[in-house]
């Protein structure tokens, strides 16, 4: 959701501050504009097996074939990157694995937002048209 659409209580109860939300929103918008794909970030529980649940969430997007979902579950300490089938040419799995490694390094250090923003930027760079 766009930062301007969140109510004050949603920001206060949510996991991220306004500044952090703005960073995530900016990174997503830039990634969308540079690549033409739809980027999205999910932070929350993933039902086991996590891969299947992440793929199911990815399937609920408007255009799954051209979308990438970064699903992060802080409680289970699991990250799933799911790319649509139109994306695998420009964004092969090996590149995604490198991005996943970079993101988990950030998360281990306690930097959730930094990891998310870095991950989105790295994926956008790899799949730039």
């Amino acid at each position: 959701m766009a930062v301007g659409e969140l109510s004050r209580s949603e920001v206060l109860e949510g996991p991220f501050t306004t500044g952090q939300l703005e960073r995530i929103s900016e990174a997503l918008a830039a990634a969308d504009a540079e690549t033409g794909f739809v980027f999205s970030v999910y932070v929350g529980e993933l039902v086991e097996p996590t891969r299947g649940d992440a793929e199911r969430l990815h399937g609920e997007l408007a255009d799954p074939a051209n979308s990438v979902l970064l699903a992060i579950s802080p409680n289970q300490r699991v990250l799933e990157i799911v790319t649509g089938h139109q994306m695998s040419r420009r964004l092969p799995d090996q590149q995604c694995a490198l991005v996943a490694l970079s993101m988990t390094s950030s998360f281990t250090g306690g930097d959730l937002v930094g990891g998310i923003v870095t991950g989105v930027r790295m994926l956008a760079d790899q799949s730039r048209r």
Binding site: E5, P15, V43, G44, P64, I81, V82, A100
Partner: protein
């Protein structure tokens, strides 16, 4: 100078400088510590799902919602069948920390 003035100048000024710098150093970290994530710390927030804001050219992008039940309620079926070959093959990666 009197004794009081001497003490104030030679002990008071350095002490107040140290106090100001200490406050500037430690007070911001108390404000941030509530939100700062650490691995292993329980995550008690509702799930959130973010997408980029709708573009200026009016291209429609699905907007994220804050709770998962709303996402699944719209779907009447669990299994997605497709006629296109390989259209349900998804790539990506997995990581854990």
């Amino acid at each position: 100078m009197t004794v009081v003035q001497t003490t104030a100048v030679f002990a008071g000024i350095p002490a107040s400088v140290i106090l100001v710098i200490a406050l500037l150093t430690y007070v911001p970290s108390t404000r941030n510590s509530k939100r700062r994530y650490r691995p292993g710390m329980p995550w008690e927030f509702h799930p959130v799902w973010y997408l980029a804001p709708e573009r200026a050219d009016g291209r429609r992008v699905l907007h994220g919602v804050a709770s998962r039940p709303e996402l699944t309620a719209a779907r009447g079926h669990d299994v997605v069948t497709s006629n296109e070959q390989g259209s349900d093959v998804k790539g990506g990666a997995h990581g854990s920390w």
